[in-house]
């Protein structure tokens, strides 16, 4: 079994929109969902459909994985990369990537995205956070006022 697995050279990932990505096995190690799929197959070439992840997002995730799987990159270079990576994303990109990370079961990438989102909503108004997550309040004004009073400590 071990010999068969190591013989896999290229893994093909197919995104929801049909775009195809060919990656080396070490890149998908972080994607536990994909890895467990590979582990259960006895084939040398693997093609995996990922119907819950869009091509653009998958491209970004692969870019992240490549950078972090690299042994040549220094810790500082990876941190610099992370910083720039978050900077070029819009808020809904982050939320989509977070969801993809959850679906692909990527522990460290999920944490990375969750922290980036938390940093954006920290110290922001209720209205800002509602907007950020596209939430429509279903409280009546009276209910909301009551809650504000109950949790007064948090609104000062």
């Amino acid at each position: 079994m071990a010999a068969e697995k190591s013989s896999i050279k290229i893994i093909t990932l197919i995104a929801a929109d049909g775009s195809v990505f060919e990656v080396e096995p070490n890149i998908v190690k972080e994607m536990k969902t994909v890895q467990s799929y590979i582990d259960e197959l006895d084939q040398n070439t693997v093609s995996i459909p990922l119907p819950n992840v869009f091509g653009n997002d998958l491209a970004m995730i692969i870019e992240y994985c490549k950078k972090h799987a690299s042994e040549e990159e220094t810790k500082e270079a990876k941190e610099e990369f992370d910083f720039e990576f978050v900077k070029r994303m819009k808020s809904d990109d982050k939320l989509r990537l977070l969801q993809a990370a959850s679906y692909l079961n990527m522990e460290s990438f999920l944490q990375f995205m969750a922290k980036a989102i938390a940093a954006e909503i920290e110290n922001q108004s209720v209205e800002f956070v509602r907007d950020y997550f596209q939430i429509e309040s279903d409280f009546t004004p009276e209910e909301e006022a009551e809650l504000r009073k109950e949790n007064e400590w948090a609104f000062k």
């Binding site: 969902t33 467990s36 819950n52 969801q99 999920l110 938390a118 409280f139």
Partner: protein, 483 residues
């Protein structure tokens, strides 16, 4: 934590999953992911999400770490805000069963003792591991009987209580996992109460007593073999509140001991041969006088002669003067490599430092706040009185206040001439000396060609603050003005 959040995905799901629309409904993010995001926010931000929508209302209560704080108000006191927060914490405790760490700190506002009591009861029902209650100004000093459910609090790892409440400790108390116990301002009615608490902590590693109120307590035995750190800190105003109290310390595995009190608390070391770091600051203004304080200091120091690093307050050194007749009882500190003298509250006129140094044969680093006039009297400067550590082991001397006066220069010269392995002297210049370049130049000239050529002399401005640097060596690398 993550393991619980991400459920393992069935491989088949990959293929069976339905993409549906091309746009994600972000508000459909599953609860466990949203809670995971909240876990990276300060508690205040997390609680605020309760009014986003009904779906979000209780999400924050599923978190496991909470920090509630009301800082000391700048002006006025809003009594209501403290009550409101305690209500909020109470509701959280009723609702949640996954709190690992709960920290409630309210400064400058009195809180109701009954409310605190009932919170402690609720906490006990949860499996909290780290509990911090800092409520310095509890209004009434009503008795707070620890609730029954608190008695066997198996999950508790850290307990930090800062509240002016009388704790009644029943005999059945058992904190079987408690590693760290910090008690500030807590009132103990009697000796039994304290002893019961201590014997109820069989695996305790760190014990901190800060300004506790010991009523009718004559003696406390701290006999805990697992204890690594003991920190007893009492401001003098607190020591006035009770009669003399003896603290016997029997802790064979203790590594760090800090005693900062006045000698109203007298420490009797029983088995402290493993202590590596110690800080001793016994104030000597005390009704029973300096001789008593000096003897207390000698008794304590005698028990910790194994230390490698020792901080001694100037006050403590001062009171040793009065015990000069018994100073020979002090054993040799045969492991001591680092000695720091902490600045004192008064103007020092005497110095017993030079009498102490013969007790430290392998001292490598000496840090003193300032030079005292008679550290080295002219007559004493003969070689046979030079302590052996100065001759053979001292590598670093730091003086935190240096004004460039004649007696200070004489002191530094003494070291330059006699310390054969001294590698570096660090002098923090007074404001006056820092501003006076001519004097500074003069001082440097006087010291430059004395004794050892290999010793580096570093001067630094008072204005550059140590506080910004965690590592003192790092500070000296960047801030000296003349090398």
């Amino acid at each position: 934590m993550m393991a619980a959040i991400i459920s393992s995905t069935d491989v088949n799901n990959i293929q069976n999953h339905n993409v549906g629309d091309t746009t994600y409904m972000i508000s459909d993010l599953p609860d466990h992911i949203l809670i995971y995001i909240l876990s990276f926010l300060p508690t205040k931000d997390a609680v605020r999400t309760s009014i986003l929508s009904t779906k979000w209302r209780y999400l924050w209560t599923h978190l496991s770490v909470f920090d509630f704080l009301i800082p000391r108000p700048k002006y006025g006191k809003n009594q209501n805000s403290a009550n409101c927060l305690l209500d909020l914490v109470g509701r959280l405790l009723d609702k949640s069963n996954c709190i690992e760490r709960l920290c409630v700190k309210i400064f400058g506002i009195s809180v109701n003792a009954n409310q605190v009591s009932s919170l402690i009861s609720s906490v006990a029902k949860n499996k909290v591991q780290h509990l911090h209650f800092n409520l310095g100004d509890v209004t009434t000093t009503t008795n707070c009987v620890l609730p029954l459910s608190f008695l066997a609090f198996e999950s508790l790892n850290t307990l930090d209580l800062g509240l002016k409440l009388t704790l009644h400790i029943p005999s059945a108390i058992c904190f079987s996992s408690l590693k760290r116990l910090v008690l500030s301002y807590v009132i103990f009615e009697n000796e039994n109460s304290i002893q019961r608490l201590l014997s109820g902590c069989p695996v305790l590693e760190e014990l901190v007593w800060c300004n506790c109120h010991f009523k009718n307590v004559k003696q406390i035995n701290v006999a805990i073999s697992t204890l690594r750190t003991l920190n007893v800190h009492f401001d003098s105003s607190f020591c006035d509140l009770f009669d003399n109290c003896i603290v016997k310390i029997d802790a064979a595995n203790l590594l760090t001991l800090r005693c900062r009190t006045n000698p109203a608390i007298q420490f009797i070391p029983i088995n402290l041969t493993s202590v590596v770091n110690a800080c001793v600051d016994l104030e000597y203004y005390y009704p029973q006088g300096e001789l008593y304080a000096g003897n207390c200091a000698i008794k304590l120091l005698s028990g910790i002669s194994s230390v490698k690093s020792l901080q001694l307050s100037n006050d403590t050194l001062e009171c040793l003067i009065y015990a000069k007749d018994t100073l020979h009882l002090l054993p040799s500190f045969h492991n001591l490599t680092h000695l720091t003298v902490l600045p004192c509250h008064c103007d020092a006129t005497y110095g017993v430092l030079m009498d102490f140094l013969p007790k430290t044969p392998i001292l490598e680093a000496l840090h003193i706040p300032d030079v005292v006039h008679n550290y080295v009297d002219g007559e004493d400067l003969i070689l046979n009185l030079v302590p052996s550590c100065v001759k053979s082991s001292l590598k670093l001397l730091t003086i935190s206040y240096f004004n460039g006066d004649e007696y200070e220069i004489r002191f530094v010269k003494f070291f330059l001439e006699n310390a054969t392995v001294l590698a570096e002297i660090r002098l923090v210049c007074s404001r006056h000396l820092s501003a006076d370049f001519k004097k500074l130049d003069d001082v440097r000239n006087q010291l430059q060609h004395v004794g050892l050529i290999s010793c580096v002399l570093k001067f630094c401005n008072t204005s550059s603050s140590f506080d910004d640097y965690t590592d003192e060596d790092e500070f000296w690398k960047t801030h000296f003005i003349i090398a």
